[in-house]
């Protein structure tokens, strides 16, 4: 029962159902939509000014928040279904120190979330790059900016997956966990930003803007800590809950 063995078991769980493939299919669709917007979309004046500059193109390709939302749903489903199907029972029989099993699960979904987000971002970039050939504009985003974009989205994928899995462990019901993810990422941030002064700086979209270099509202390290908190708070709640509650 080494930590590596537990992570391997969790990766096995994720690779032996179609969940990850389903999310990958969604990413392909999103990339296709982005490419279609570039190829066929126009702004209000009928021009393609929205892809005229490197900043415009980078903004169009920015996928971090979408990745966080998508992988949060992935993590929530991956964790909560364990309880729905009672497959958590053999897991906790093998690893009765339950926090170790949950840590392994969080590690596995973080890895999967990061990979899914990276693939999604790469597909979006590739789709936009290909679609730009059908326009009079070239691909203007620099390698440095592109690398930053990919890194930010990969981080967003890992953060989202851990956030979702933490909620899934706490709620233990797929429908409830998915609802919680939507509430946490869509309802809580704007509500908090409206209610508390300066809170808008700490919502995921603002933090990803800082991490990707599009904003300087806070220092990079502060943004990294802030986004980590979005994942670690629900993960911590999940670790506490799993030790305190009966499994079945």
């Amino acid at each position: 029962m080494t930590p590596l063995a537990l992570v391997r078991a969790e990766i096995r769980k994720l690779t032996t159902t179609k969940l990850a493939w389903g999310f990958l299919a969604v990413l392909v669709v999103i990339a296709g939509l982005n490419a279609a917007i570039v190829a066929f979309g126009t702004d209000m004046g009928g021009s393609k000014a929205f892809i005229a500059t490197a900043a415009d193109q980078q903004s169009l390709m920015s996928f971090a928040f979408n990745a966080m939302l998508g992988t949060a749903l992935f993590g929530a489903i991956a964790a909560a279904r364990e309880y729905g199907h009672a497959t958590v029972v053999p897991t906790f029989l093998t690893t009765p120190r339950r926090h170790r099993a949950v840590l392994a699960q969080l590690t596995a979904v973080a890895g999967f979330g990061a990979a899914l987000a990276l693939v999604g971002q790469a597909l979006v970039v590739a789709g936009v790059a290909i679609a730009l050939h059908s326009t009079s504009y070239g691909f203007l985003v620099s390698i440095t900016a592109l690398t930053q974009l990919l890194a930010t989205t990969t981080l967003a994928g890992a953060v989202g997956a851990v956030l979702g899995a933490g909620l899934g462990v706490v709620i233990r019901n797929v429908g409830g966990a998915v609802t919680a993810v939507v509430l946490v990422l869509f309802v809580v941030p704007p509500l908090t930003a409206q209610l508390l002064a300066d809170a808008g700086t700490w919502i995921p979209t603002s933090l990803f803007a800082v991490i990707s270099g599009a904003s300087t509202d806070v220092a990079l390290w502060a943004a990294l800590l802030g986004i980590a908190a979005w994942a670690l708070i629900p993960a911590g709640a999940g670790l506490l809950a799993v030790e305190r509650r009966d499994v079945v």
Partner: protein, 334 residues
């Protein structure tokens, strides 16, 4: 040799007391069957033993250690607990691989247990397409993955065909014969009768009786009389359990045979037969778990015999009327 010890455990769910100060021991090298009506607290007891649920009071150990303190749980205890603890879209082989990966068990062992439970041919099919019997076999395969010396199985025979039941019985007997500890809950009383060395009976979370099945079965007395109703009242008032047998005879438990004769004599009731009886487990089960209102179990049956005492020490439950007993029997069999 790893005994299982249930030591004064109590478990509440909300205001309901599901397990109530339960104490007994499951000895190694024996097959111990865990009996009780639906809702008696058997599964909860097993979950507490396996640290899947936390007792409000008391402590359970396996070879002196709590489950969570076992150095290698998967190689120590094999468990069948939830009948459908599978992801339906995962294949049987992959289900076992997820468990084996976490426990550090190699692929050859997976193939071995699949072969042992007769699932090799269906190992790559999705579990969602398995029959109940196939799922039960997969659960047993998972329990056997670590080749553990202790087996804790909740209704393992459900859904198995006769060949499967026979295979399971042979497996469990073989495990016990080699010094293993086998703790099995079951409603298949005929099967329990063939399988069990010892039984533990609970009702409403309380211990009703425990001991060697053979000695418990010898604890009844058959009585034939011309005044069965009056004698039943007298014996029940004195604490015995009385019900009508198939041929109208009285079957009395919880009272020595000579005392039954003495009480009948004192009441001037003529006896036509007074004989020690080897009762069926089904009859015993109904005696242990039935109540005067015809429903299963009031939990007030006699003192538990956690020390492995005889049935005389622990079978004084409230006796149902004969007709009610038969109704209960049908309900259990269904």
């Amino acid at each position: 040799m790893l005994p299982l010890t249930i030591d004064h455990i109590t478990k509440h769910y909300g205001k309901d007391v599901v397990v109530d100060d339960l104490t007994f021991t499951v000895e190694p090298a024996r097959v111990t069957c865990f009996l009780g009506p639906n809702g008696a607290g058997k599964s909860t007891t097993m979950k507490v033993l396996l640290d899947l649920a936390t007792a409000d009071h008391g402590r359970c150990t396996i070879g002196g250690l709590r489950y969570r303190d076992l150095p290698d749980p998967a190689r120590t205890v094999g468990v069948v607990l939830e009948p459908n603890a599978f992801h339906p879209a995962r294949s049987g082989r992959n289900h076992l691989r997820t468990i084996a990966d976490g426990a550090g068990i190699g692929r050859p062992r997976i193939e071995h247990v699949l072969d042992a439970v007769g699932l090799t041919h269906a190992a790559d099919r999705h579990v969602g397409g398995y029959s109940l019997g196939m799922r039960q076999r997969l659960g047993l395969a998972a329990a056997l993955l670590g080749d553990p010396p202790v087996l804790v199985l909740d209704e393992p025979g459900n859904g198995l065909d006769p060949q499967g039941i026979r295979w399971l019985r042979d497996l469990l007997r073989e495990r016990a014969a080699s010094g293993g500890t086998v703790f099995v809950s079951s409603h298949l009383l005929a099967e329990v009768e063939q399988l069990a060395d010892d039984v533990v009976v609970i009702n409403h979370g309380q211990l009703v009786t425990t001991g060697a099945l053979a000695s418990l079965q010898r604890s009844g007395t058959t009585v034939r009389t011309t005044a069965p109703e009056r004698l039943t009242q007298i014996l029940e008032r004195a604490g015995a359990t009385v019900h009508r047998g198939r041929d109208g005879e009285l079957v009395v438990r919880g009272m020595p045979i000579d005392e039954i004769g003495d009480r009948a004599h004192s009441a001037r009731i003529a006896l036509h037969e007074l004989a020690a009886q080897a009762g069926s487990l089904e009859e015993l089960f109904l005696d242990w778990t039935s109540t005067g209102d015809g429903t299963a179990g009031d939990g007030t049956a006699g003192e538990g015999t956690a020390d492995g005492g005889t049935a005389d020490e622990g079978t004084a439950s409230d006796a149902p009327a004969a007709e009610e007993t038969h109704t209960d029997r049908e309900a259990v069999l269904l």
